[in-house]
């Protein structure tokens, strides 16, 4: 029986590309069909300015009509440990912001809204999703969303 930790798929949301300044990152939506749990990781690179938006949205429609979800906005929602959330600041280089979602009873499509602040140079950011508790285990690297999956 496959280890449940292996029944996962990774989805690229924003690849580590060019720095973004005073603009929203181009993001790919996440189709969660067949999965019961979603984790989104936003990984900041070098930055000198606070972000102005970082939140998850969901929709029943493919590619449209995304709306905010309670508890998944870094700008003021309470985090999993009871702290009032705040957007990443100018000093938050190389930190993660993690969103964890029990998908049962929730909408199918998800999108990350991430906007770099209006500083001098901008902010590097990469983001990806980890889908888990799937109905079926991936049977290939492609199904796992990876170039290669190595196990020991």
């Amino acid at each position: 029986m496959a280890n449940p930790e292996q029944r996962v798929k990774h989805v690229s949301i924003t690849p580590p590309a060019a720095i973004v300044d005073n603009a929203s990152y181009t993001t790919a939506q996440i189709d969660t069909l067949g999965w019961d749990y979603l984790e989104v990781v936003a990984y900041l690179g070098a930055t000198d300015i606070a972000m102005t938006a970082l939140k998850l949205q969901s929709s029943d429609s493919d590619g449209s009509q995304f709306a905010d979800v309670d508890g998944l906005d870094a700008n003021g929602d309470t985090d999993a440990f009871g702290n009032t959330g705040a957007l990443p600041t100018a000093a938050d280089d190389n930190k993660f912001v993690v969103f964890q979602v029990d998908l049962r009873g929730k909408k199918r499509y998800w999108d990350l809204v991430a906007t770099a602040g209006d500083g001098t140079n901008g902010t590097f950011l990469a983001a990806w999703a980890r889908l888990s508790r799937g109905e079926e285990s991936p049977s290939s690297n492609t199904e796992a969303g990876a170039l290669n999956v190595y196990r020991a």
């Binding site: 930055t47 600041t89 100018a90 000093a91 938050d92 280089d93 190389n94 209006d118 001098t120």
Partner: protein
């Protein structure tokens, strides 16, 4: 720092700073001095021998790359290097492991006297430091703001670099409001401004002049 003066010279990097820097330092020989980013060039280029500011604010990633060597030299000669606190990696990629002070700047959208906040641009942070360190007189030079627009980039700093396309927006939305807010919040502090501000700056406690009397200055920069 061993100076006890409550006069602070806050040096920016607008092109007009070149024409007044030497005379301002001569007028206020005992003043504390603070600068950031390209402002260090003014101190380094004194013909009689480099001068070193009391404080050098350096935090922006690109600025740390460009001016880190100057910062190290200045620190060896008594300058305090101040920067933002970051995690170990953020500090290391900026070369700020040996900074003298890590100054926390909380996020806010307005200036409140007596506190610090991240006012986006390094020159404005230098003014906050001067005021919070007890300045009774603040002498500004090189804080004219940026003139570059998306369709018209011009030389915006003393080292000849073209400005960002959004520079003019920063001048109107960040620099100008900040400078006026400080003047308004500190009626007991005297502000002397040298240069050509690209924004309105007014108040009973502020004077604005293009030149300072003294020995002949270098040829004025054409604007």
């Amino acid at each position: 720092m061993c100076k006890q003066s409550d006069t602070w010279i806050v040096v920016g990097s607008s092109p007009t700073a070149q024409g007044v820097f030497d005379n301002v330092l001569e007028r206020y020989p005992d003043a504390r001095t603070i600068t950031c980013n390209a402002g260090i060039y003014l101190f380094a280029s004194v013909l009689e021998g480099p001068r070193y500011p009391d404080i050098y604010w350096l935090s922006d990633l690109v600025a740390c790359y460009m001016f880190g060597r100057f910062a190290n030299q200045a620190q060896r000669n008594g300058t305090e290097i101040w920067t933002l606190p970051r995690n170990e990696y953020g500090i290391s990629i900026r070369g700020m492991q040996n900074a003298d002070r890590y100054l926390d700047l909380p996020e806010s959208d307005h200036y409140t006297r007596g506190t610090y906040y991240h006012s986006t641009l390094s020159g404005t942070i230098c003014t906050q430091i001067a005021v919070n360190e007890g300045a009774r007189k603040v002498v500004w030079l090189g804080h004219d703001g940026y003139r570059s627009t998306p369709n018209g980039k011009v030389v915006d700093t003393i080292d000849g670099r073209l400005g960002h396309g959004k520079g003019w927006g920063h001048t109107q939305n960040v620099i100008g409001p900040f400078m006026q807010a400080v003047v308004n919040a500190c009626p007991d502090i005297e502000f002397e401004y040298y240069g050509k501000p690209q924004y309105t700056l007014a108040g009973p406690n502020v004077t604005v002049a293009k030149q300072v009397e003294g020995k002949p200055s270098p040829p004025p920069v054409l604007l």
